[in-house]
Amino acid sequence: MKRTYADVSEEDYEGCAKPREYKKLLFALGYFHAAILERRKYGAVGWNIPYEWMTADLETSKRQLRMYLDEQEVVPYQALNYLVAEANYGGRVTDDKDVTLIKAMLGRYFTPDVMNDNYKLSKLETYYVPVEGPLSEVKAYIESLPLDEDPEVFGLHPNANIAFEDKTVSAFTDTILTMQPRVASVAGGRTPDEIA
């Protein structure tokens, strides 16, 4: 999230023809970017295949958002959803079930509802689209968000944490196993400890 705003200049942030819509949707976009990246840590429950999305995807989407808002009378939600979820980010997505998922993810954030003040981005109370204000206010809001995220933030059930912990532990035990001594000791031979 912070990264989204790190290279947004004051001028750009205030300069859009539809400041309210731009600010709201920019926040939603940043949230989307963070959520799909974070989902990867939950393994297959998050994404079937962990994709390498990059800041370039975010940059492109940001610019297109600005352009569409500047040039069009009404906010083209459908076009924006298509561009961001299927073209920009979706270009990397190869699994068809993941395509459905990424569309569902963005559909939650790029919707006319986002214009309602304090629209909740997940089931949790903590994460909402803040009232449009100066850039510093948004940054302060992002800073205030908890460090430890509930999987619910990304649309997942809290149980997804179990999957994440499982994955971490099995990676850990696998590493230990590869360090296990493999030399069978013959009677009278030295144990690996003695050799070391």
């Binding site: 429950v45 079937n48 079930k97 998922l101 569902a104 939650r108 649309g155 059930h157 149980n159 179990i162």
Partner: protein, 271 residues
């Protein structure tokens, strides 16, 4: 080094492919499955014999045999077996009972005819089972198979309470639901209980219906995968190696909610 040879007790006696009077397409399917099981069991027996001899010193301990022995020590399935086996993430200690259960199911089908409800996780190639079941109906009614699809009717019971096969279509059981649970009574998918990310799913009746029917209304198109890895490669037959089919489960919330939840049916757990 403990030779893990007691697994050999798992081998059932050789079973011959016999004409069992089943509807043709499902019969062909079970024949193919039996071939696959026999191949796996043959490889298992062969490699275990070799390893036994190598431990006794009558044949040379090759690289393959040594890696097999160390896989045993790690409680993992040897690569030689995986090569001819089905996708599974189970450690060896539960892989073996799972294999025995699969072989029993297929053997029972072979000797006693089709069961009232099929344990789909038993099969190497569940996609083939689905097609065969649909084809059986297509032949019976002479409706082209392309004009048919399966409707998911969840029976609110588990397999031991089902004693009759449906007139059309098939009953299947033994699937697990990850990321959601089945709400008995309300008949829809609901959020999981805390600490229960994966639950056993009740019996499903796959009912063949016309392809024009919209099954997605009010339903979440839940993907069914063989293992929890979910990802799979496209095989030459156009099937994913992991994805089987979409089952349409009724929901009271928007389907997108379950998509974001990552809810999916799995044919087996990892443990």
């Amino acid at each position: 080094m403990p030779p893990a040879l007691d697994v050999e007790a798992a081998h059932p006696s050789t079973f011959a492919v016999a004409e069992n009077g089943q509807p043709l397409s499902l019969g062909v399917f079970v024949g193919q499955e039996i071939d696959r099981f026999n191949k796996l069991l043959k490889v298992m027996k062969g490699t275990l014999d070799q390893l036994d001899k190598a431990i006794q010193g009558t044949v040379v301990m090759s690289m393959e045999l040594e890696s097999m022995a160390s896989r045993f020590l790690d409680n993992k399935v040897p690569a030689q077996w995986e090569a001819v086996g089905y996708p599974s993430l189970k450690p060896l200690s539960s892989w073996v009972p799972d294999l025995i259960a699969r072989v029993q199911v297929v053997t029972k089908w072979l000797l006693e005819g089709a069961p009232a409800s099929f344990w789909v996780p038993a099969f190497f190639f569940p996609q083939g089972f689905m097609t065969a079941a649909l084809q059986g109906y297509a032949r019976k009614t002479t409706i082209p198979i392309d004009a048919l699809q399966f409707r998911t009717a969840v029976k609110e019971v588990f397999a031991d309470q089902v004693d009759e096969a449906p007139a059309d279509g098939v009953n299947i059981h033994g699937l697990y639901l990850q990321g959601a649970k089945w709400d008995f009574g309300r008949c829809c998918v609901e959020d999981s209980d805390p600490r229960a990310p994966i639950v056993l799913f009740p019996v499903i009746w796959l009912e063949p219906v016309d392809v024009g029917e919209n099954l997605e209304a009010g339903c979440y198109s839940c993907p069914l995968y063989k293992t929890s890895t979910r990802r799979g490669e496209l095989s030459t037959t156009g099937h994913s190696t992991n994805f089987v089919l979409f089952l349409h489960l009724p929901t009271e919330t928007h389907a997108d909610y379950w998509i974001r939840r990552g809810a999916a049916l799995l044919a087996q757990t990892d443990d």
